[in-house]
Amino acid sequence: MQKTKLTHEISKHGLILFILFFAFLPLYVMLVISLKDNIQFVRSPMLPSAPYHWENWIKGWDLVGKYIANSILVAAVSVIATLITALLSAYVFARYRFPGHTILWYLLLALLFMPGVMNIVPLFLIMKNMNLLNSLWGLTILYTVGGQVFCIFVLRNFIEEIPADLFEAAMVDGATPLQQIKNIVVPMSGSILATLAILRFLGAWNNFIQPMIFISDEYKQLIPVGLMRLDGEYVKQWGEMMAGYSIAAIPLVIIFLFTMRLFVKGLTAGAVKG
């Protein structure tokens, strides 16, 4: 009996580790190659080999550093703006019923099902008319609007589950809606807000179609498009390229380091359960 239990445990670990091994493989390959020059790379791409070329990382920084600041700016501002506006709307949708409530709600939800490509050309023209083309602010606004629906959806469900007594007590004390949000909703939804923030940040960091189409100046470009250009070069310095790829992940690493606990908690508490 004892023995079979042990083999059970080991086989479970085995399966998990098998999947994890392959999930980590791209990360491993990227880091290993980032320390090689082209000769070492051709000889053995998979195993680390001395001498280690740390200077690749300096060159990699030269290649992608300029894009990182833009990406951080756009991602951070759009995440904050998304969370604030989505929180306000979600509160209204959760706490009030007004004429047109249902229709507005379904109109918002319908946005989840629009194929993104369909909108891009008319969006391009609208942005052009509003003088938002080739501007990081324009992109920030787009990302903010793009994140609304999902965040409102999750936050509304969450606010509806907060006990009503809390809100009633606050109303008796004469709290305005804004004060209610600040004092009741925000303190209670810490891990969900953090999870949404990370998911949105990831979204903004990963999005490449919109910057590719809406930004034309090289110095305003965001990181995904920058990486894509790197890949398109004719003679590839694999080591520098992989170092650049790794550097592109560093801001995400930092964010995950600080919010890992909240994120794991938020994900498993069902922030994305739907």
């Binding site: 999930a23 791209p26 990227m30 369909m118 969006l123 990486l227 995400l252």
Partner: protein, 437 residues
């Protein structure tokens, strides 16, 4: 919870709540609905985004759907929305969808009659033949569908269940029939891109399982510490930016320096593949020296897309399933143990049913995501979807038509069609995939 109800005449007094929603609503109206409405309008236009902009009616859709253009999609759309209406439980949605469906039926019938009339007056044998040949099977299917609906609602016992089954199967057959119609007369590339979508969805269905098993394994571990550790470890791969993931995989597939070819040569599998190609497959892809271009050869593109990201790795899924598994109480397991249920039984009888909500949700999101996806193929294969357009998805086709061919009106028409397909799937989802609390 108690909800504030605001009457129509009190709207002005509560201006503050509208102020609170204003940023969202204005933003969405300008940057989401504005373009969407423009796109719908332009699906009836010949439009290159700059100079040409002329109304051409249904021509775009005719190109898309072929000769059966005017009425066949409407008929089918009518059928599908009608079913969707029946399936949906919300009264309002139900009514709207049903009336839409009936409206589409009527439109289709009129259009069909007109088409037939034209065909006769033109005395063009070819178009008459096509109209009539398309007319008959759809009529038969319609009759069968109505019969099965009648059976479903009026029939008793066995007959009701037969009717119930058939009213789902017949639209499916109609859909297949319709797709073959597109293949014959409509946009062949579009048909091909849907073919790829079916393959990708089938593959993704298989890809879901390892994540479920992994989540169950983590959940069943004895020690809480290991559970937490693994959960964190499954989050870590998310730090790789998507673009980096794509480019690294593109490098894996590189014919000259890529890891995949090196791995195959190192393990001697290249000889096996060369042998297979020579005697069984006859593709001429795997030859000596062994340098298959995984993303450059028409016959290898679909396998490469399927293998992309390792079929057995699904990181986010694991975390979502874990969140569902956590709701299972210890007492359920104890009861199961008393009944002598083995671990496979526990999986099929306890764990799988309890995470079914998440599985179904994931399934629907996956299907919708696959239908819309194009970025991935764009980076790996370019706007044409690789040689012979093997990797073309409907979304990528839209991208290609708009940015490569400046054929924006046509691209908008494809987008509209995609939107309706996704909407249909969503309505079905509303019926079957309710999130049980």
């Amino acid at each position: 919870m108690k909800i504030e109800k605001i009457k129509f005449r009190n709207l002005a007094k509560n201006w503050i709540i509208f102020l609170m929603m204003a940023p969202t609503l204005i933003g969405v109206a300008i940057f989401s609905y504005g373009p969407a409405i423009e796109a719908i309008r332009h699906s009836f236009y010949n439009w290159d985004g700059q100079f040409t902009e002329e109304y051409i009616g249904f021509t775009n859709f005719k190109l898309l759907f072929g000769n059966l253009s005017l009425w066949s999609p409407l008929l089918l759309g009518g059928l599908l929305t009608f079913i969707a209406g029946i399936l949906s439980e919300r009264k309002l949605v139900n009514r709207i969808l049903k009336s839409l469906g009936i409206g589409a039926f009527i439109w289709a019938a009129i259009a069909m009659a007109l088409d037939a009339g034209y065909a006769i007056s033109d005395a063009e044998e070819e178009s008459m033949r096509i109209t009539i040949s398309a007319f008959k099977p759809i009529l038969v299917m319609l009759a069968l569908f109505i019969t099965s609906l009648l059976l479903k609602f009026k029939g008793k016992g066995k007959w009701a269940s037969v009717g119930n089954g058939f009213c789902y199967i017949i639209p499916f057959i109609a859909g297949l029939y319709y797709l073959t119609g597109i293949r014959k007369t409509g946009d062949w590339l579009l048909w091909k891109s849907f073919n790829l979508i079916f393959i990708l969805i089938a593959a993704n269905l298989l890809k879901m399982w390892p994540a479920i098993f992994a989540a169950v394994c983590i959940h069943r571990l004895k020690s809480e510490r290991w559970q937490y550790l693994y959960r964190v470890l499954f989050v870590i791969p998310m730090i790789i930016p998507q673009m980096v993931g794509l480019l690294v995989w593109k490098f894996f597939y590189d014919p000259n320096v890529g890891i995949l070819n090196k791995f195959l040569i190192m393990t001697g599998l290249d000889n096996a593949l060369i042998w297979l190609d020579k005697w069984v497959l006859h593709l001429g892809v795997f030859t000596d020296p062994f340098k298959p271009a995984w993303l450059g050869h028409p016959d290898l593109i679909i396998p490469s897309l399927l293998f992309w990201g390792f079929p057995w790795v699904g990181v986010v899924g694991v975390l979502i399933y874990l969140s569902g598994l956590q709701n299972i109480g210890q007492d359920v397991y104890e009861a199961a143990e008393l009944d002598g249920i083995n671990s496979w039984g526990k999986f099929t009888k306890i764990e799988l049913p309890l995470i079914m909500t998440q599985v179904r949700l994931n399934l629907v999101l996956m299907i919708i995501g696959t239908l819309q996806a194009y970025g991935f193929q764009l980076i790996l294969l370019g706007p044409e979807g690789g040689p012979q357009n093997k990797g073309l998805t409907p979304g990528l086709y839209m991208f290609y038509e708009s940015f490569q061919n400046q054929n924006y009106g046509y691209a908008c028409a494809i987008g509209l069609m995609l939107f309706f397909i996704i909407l249909f799937l969503t309505v079905i989802n509303q019926r079957y995939v309710r999130v049980e609390k």
